[in-house]
């Protein structure tokens, strides 16, 4: 918890600390900057975006040689809000629903009575997160602007489900298939989510106030999905790559 608090403080320092260095934005505008239609210095901009998310679970498998955690593609959406104190710098936040899904595959073979039997089992873990990024948005360019995002995020593990299929253990069915909501366990699951976020983007003006954004964001999780319950603990982290397309409106 202490670490989470420190992370939060760092993000806030990265974001709002910068605004403290800034004097009244309008006062710093030059005549040249005022002529840019898509550089709304001193203004707020609202945006909505949606796109694909490609999530990977980073977890050790040690000697479990038939375990493979495979990434999974999902759909993410959200909105963002940014304030631009300088032409080259905006502070950006937002609220995003990001599925951080993955697939666990177990494929192996065993020899029973001189016959090779293939054993295969797969489970898709779907985990929905609400994430709030805090980013410094550094940009260059005249009309079309190129962005570099640096910052962090916090969030909450909102929901989950598990689906898959397996050979039945002691049942009479030929195979066992399931799809069910994930039951959170307070003692095991760490639903607080935080990490680093960085990315690249392009913004294209359509009119004086409206524009189109194409962004690539990486969400690099620093919070373990599980609480530490024993002296030997195998941490699990999400890493998500988002490709988002959206529209913006400058107030």
């Amino acid at each position: 918890m202490k670490k989470n608090f420190l992370l939060l403080l760092t993000f806030l320092a990265l974001g709002f600390g910068l605004t403290a260095q800034t004097s009244t934005p309008q006062m710093q505008q030059t005549a040249g900057e005022e002529s840019d239609v898509f550089s709304p210095v001193g203004r707020w901009t609202l945006g909505v975006d949606a796109g694909l998310v490609f999530n990977t679970l980073d977890a050790g498998t040690a000697y479990m040689k038939n375990y493979t955690y495979m990434p999974r593609l999902s759909f993410s959406y959200g909105f963002n809000l940014r304030y631009q104190p300088y032409k080259w710098l905006a502070l950006r936040t937002g609220l995003y629903y990001i599925p951080k899904d993955y697939v666990l595959m177990q494929v192996d073979s065993i020899t029973i009575n001189d016959k090779i039997e293939v054993f295969a089992r797969g489970e898709m873990a779907q985990n929905g997160y609400l994430n709030v990024p805090f980013m410094a948005d550094l940009s260059i360019g005249k009309k079309v602007r190129y962005h570099l995002f640096l910052g962090g995020y916090m969030g909450y593990w909102l929901n989950g489900s598990r689906s898959g299929g397996a050979l039945p253990l002691m049942s009479v069915r030929d195979s066992y298939e399931y799809s069910e909501p994930y039951t959170f366990d307070k003692s095991r699951d760490n639903r607080f989510d935080a990490g680093l976020t960085y990315g690249l983007g392009i913004s294209i003006p359509c009119s004086k106030r409206v524009g189109i954004d194409v962004n690539m964001h990486w969400y690099y999780g620093l919070t373990d999905l599980q609480k530490r319950l024993s002296r030997q603990h195998n941490p699990q982290y999400n890493t998500s790559f988002l490709l988002l397309v959206g529209a913006t409106y400058t107030l």
Partner: protein
């Protein structure tokens, strides 16, 4: 360089450095050896291997209350001192008893090899089974003397290879009606259908279920239990230590009328203590030639009914036409397979270690501090997700085992079952 450009360059540099610094905040992945083929050359290595193995493969961590980390802190220095100073057998065994003391898994048995002594130790912490073996033969003798008994068939195995069983018909509620009785010594009935098995070994099962096509697994064919003069059934699992889980389904499914959902199972999935698979339903399908008409069934079990015998008892107690008479069962309801090639090496859960030490009493490498941990592979719970591990199945009608009555020729548990089926009370 203007002041603004200097600020932006500094900002970008600081931000990137901060990101790089934070990105190293992830903890390292757990890198451990498999406890299934780990070789140990010291007391301490043997302790570390077994402690670690149970730490991430033990299937009962969600309900077990033992502080396993505290056990590590307490016992690690003790095993290190054994390496430095040596240890006598009694201290060695007692120390290991202390390590696993109180763990919930009632199947758990630890096989240890001390190379300095060339001797296998077997440590079981769950309560010992009551010693009643000779009295079970007495129960069969008392059964034989029941008035009105007919068609008595007994196969008593002396080779240790096959299941012993008893079949008979007892007078039912009304004249001309019968109670079909079947007793079996363990759930390894498939051995009876080996080519090497004597034909009379199958006779009690044939009499109960019928000839079938090839085996009793076919269900109920021309056996007594399907005949109209048999109005009720007694399944006697007293003293039955369990066996193959796969045999529960045909054994009981043949007596049911519909597919029956009786519980859930799951196993470990991952290295952390609370990493589990989803719960998989446990169901029975009735064989093609199952019993078409539901007949009252009484199951007799006692404190020596373990594992499959307990699960069978629970199922027969749970079905609408079933009643459990006797005393609470042992409480070892996990399912397991000691064949680590088809369990641990696929699922990474349950029994682990040197299989040869378990099967042949000799380790693969006699110079090693070898071990084999015999423990549950699959957790089994009721349809209400209640674990019976360490609890057992409680009877509908409790009739405790009574040694002095048996010595006097009275089987009060059997008598209560007959009374219940004949009077409905």
């Amino acid at each position: 360089m203007t002041h603004r450009n200097f600020s932006s360059a500094r900002l970008i540099t600081c931000s990137i450095i901060t990101l790089i610094l934070f990105s190293s905040c992830r903890k390292e992945k757990l890198d451990i050896q498999s406890p299934n083929n780990r070789r140990c050359s010291t007391y301490l290595e043997q302790f570390e291997a077994i402690w670690e193995g149970l730490d991430h493969t033990y299937v009962m961590w969600d309900t077990d209350t033992v502080d396993w980390d505290a056990r590590y802190e307490k016992y690690r220095p003790i095993f290190a001192s054994f390496d430095a100073n040596g240890v006598d057998s009694a201290t060695y065994v007692n120390t290991w008893k202390g390590v696993i003391n109180g763990l919930l898994d009632h199947h758990m048995t630890l096989f240890l090899w001390n190379p300095s002594e060339g001797h296998k130790y077997l440590i079981k912490m769950a309560p010992h089974l009551p010693s009643r073996v000779t009295k079970y033969a007495t129960q069969v003798e008392i059964l034989k003397r029941q008035s009105g008994i007919s068609n008595f068939i007994e196969y008593s195995d002396t080779t240790g290879k096959y299941v012993s069983s008893v079949f008979c018909l007892l007078p039912g509620k009304s004249t001309g009606k019968h109670i079909a009785y079947l007793r079996l010594s363990e759930f390894n009935m498939s051995t009876l259908f080996d080519k090497s098995a004597p034909a009379d070994a199958r006779a009690p099962f044939r009499a109960f279920y019928g000839d079938g096509d090839t085996a009793w697994f076919t269900g109920v064919t021309n056996g007594a239990v399907g005949k109209s003069d048999v109005e009720s059934i007694i399944i006697d699992l007293r003293g039955n230590p369990g066996g193959s889980v796969s045999e529960i389904s045909p054994f009981i499914g043949s007596l049911l009328q519909n597919m029956f959902h009786w519980g859930y199972t799951r196993y470990k999935q991952g290295l952390n203590r609370m990493d589990y698979t989803v719960w998989e339903p446990l169901e029975f399908e009735c064989p093609r030639s199952h019993l078409k008409e539901a007949k009252p069934i009484v199951v007799l079990s006692d404190a020596n009914s373990v594992s499959c015998a307990e699960l069978s008892t629970y199922i027969l107690k749970t079905i609408p036409n079933g009643t459990f008479i006797g005393e609470s069962t042992y409480g070892g309801t996990c399912a397991l397979s000691p064949n680590t090639d088809v369990t641990f090496n696929l699922f990474y859960t349950g029994c682990f270690g040197d299989q040869q030490l378990y099967e042949k009493n000799k380790p693969t490498h006699p110079e090693d501090f070898s071990y084999f941990m015999y423990s549950g592979t699959y957790q089994v719970v009721t349809t209400e997700y209640k674990s019976l591990e360490g609890v057992g199945v409680t009877p509908d009608i409790e009739v405790p085992y009574n040694d002095s009555e048996l010595s006097a020729g009275v089987d009060s548990q059997l008598n209560r079952a007959l009374q219940y089926l004949r009077t409905g009370k």
